[in-house]
Amino acid sequence: MGGTELLQFVLAGLKNGSIYALVALGFTLIYAATGVINFAQGEFYMLGGMLSVWAYADLGLPLPLAGLVGVAATAAVGGVFELGAIRQRKDGDPLALIVITVGGSMVLSSMARHLFGPNERPLPLFSGGGSVSVFGAVLEVQTIWILGLTALAVVGLWYLYNRTGLGRAMRACAVNRDAARIVGIDTRLMVTVSFLLAAALGALAGLAVTPLTQTAFDVGPTVGIKGFAAAILGGLGNPIAAVVGGLVLGMLESVSIAFISSTYKDAIALIVLLAVLFMRPQGILGRSSREKV
């Protein structure tokens, strides 16, 4: 395999990897706030694309505005889901909450099917179908959008986490919930904010990919499981690890297509998930145990 071909696979890996990274960030944010895996995370990805299509095709909004509506509406769905379902479980029992997210995932995809139909729905490319050449490899303009939006979201999230009072409160909540409460942090509000953000990140991924892949009511679970694998691979609860995990998973898939066969591409995430859980449950960037001071 030549260098150009290899670069082509690397670019593809980066593209898919950044999508997984966004979804993984959603898993990580909610896990940090609640200690729970949100199995509805993939549906936020689906809704991001679907609601953008709806705003663009059905409401007739211009594409940038439609994308904004899609992401904002999905964030709102995430917030309502937290207020209406997660928060209602008063004792916060993790197992019960996980079951609630599984149920939520089914409700969201069924509703999408009911409201938007069973067919695949397209969205135009953000700025046409052009491509640029990078050392001989082809880089589609939409891929640049995907990489750029991901980078923007990661930087924005970093800023929120490390440079704002809200982010500091969220981190405090992740370290020790009771400690956060006694210094005056409304931990329930932090959970709601986490769901809003996680939904927005998933939606952004769905929005950015839909012009390349189209979307449908049932695209959530596949991407959800990959984002989950990426979050586990990096080490749950750490945003940077989620991004690294996403990119690594994207690369592994790409490499597997290059050297094995594209048939096994979707199995890679599951193999990675199992391998990590067996051999290094704390993830590649995680510490060996979750200590609490």
Binding site: G165, R168, A169, V175, D178, A179, R181, V183, I185
Partner: protein
């Protein structure tokens, strides 16, 4: 005592616990403004649970808690700290991966932002070592420094009542002395303090009054000096309460 000092905290018939197990069973107590009151008792007597119930970390199942005249029973912890109750919890509960300064700023988040600098100066004055360690993460501090940080973080909220749960636990005598010196200083400045302590002799020496807790209720109350002379209390110092601890 010529004029009756104002009551800061009054607790009546308080019950609290986990699930169906009541650990605190009918507590009556009162803390007046400017007092340092100690709560002593054997392990498992319910002291920590009582403190948690006061700030709302463990919801009371019966009884009332009044703070500065306001009924705060079942108030959520994030509201209680705004009302003026700050807890230095058992095990300190610091934000380990975050810096000393961040821990302190989190402690100050219920106060007006303009007060934060003044509050920081105050706690650095009280515990100068925290100023030296301000950019270090809390997890890297020694046990004594962590305890100081836990006290300092609670003070950042500018509380009217400071609740401390076992501040001497696991610390060297020199550090314990320093922490009790700080509490003394805070009391002299007029802060009202309710202290839970295993080391009853040490705590009572610094206190105005004391309560002895036994299997969830108050067994004995009185002036600290009297309690220090009490035969039963003397037995607790040795860790034995006539074997009744085992029956609970």
């Amino acid at each position: 005592m010529s004029s009756e000092p104002r009551t800061v905290l009054s607790v009546e018939g308080l019950h609290a616990g986990y699930g169906h197990v009541a650990v605190v069973r009918g507590i009556d107590m009162r803390v007046a403004e400017g007092e340092l009151v100690t709560l002593i008792g054997a392990n498992g007597a319910g002291k920590s649970t009582l403190l948690k119930a006061l700030v709302g970390l463990v919801p009371p199942s019966a009884g009332t808690v009044r703070f500065l005249g306001e009924d705060i029973t079942r108030m959520r912890p994030e509201r209680a700290v705004r009302a003026g109750l700050a807890l230095v919890p058992e095990g300190r509960m610091l934000f380990g991966p975050m810096s000393v300064e961040e821990n302190l700023e989190l402690g100050a988040q219920v106060t007006d932002r303009t007060q934060t600098v003044g509050s920081l100066e105050r706690v650095f004055d009280l515990f100068p070592v925290l100023a030296e360690r301000r950019s270090q993460t809390a997890a890297t501090l020694s046990g004594g420094e962590q305890q100081m940080l836990a006290v300092a973080r609670a003070l950042m909220a500018r509380p009217r009542l400071l609740l401390l749960d076992e501040p001497s636990l696991g610390l060297a005598p020199k550090v314990i002395k320093e922490i009790f010196g700080a509490l003394r200083k805070l009391k002299d400045e007029g802060l009202t303090i309710l202290l839970v302590e295993q080391d009853a002799r040490l705590a009572l020496k610094h206190s105005d009054r004391g309560y002895v807790m036994r299997t969830g209720s108050i067994a004995l109350a009185g002036d600290a000096a009297d309690l220090l002379e009490d035969d039963d209390v003397r037995l607790i110092y040795l860790g034995a309460w006539r074997g009744e601890g085992e029956s609970s």
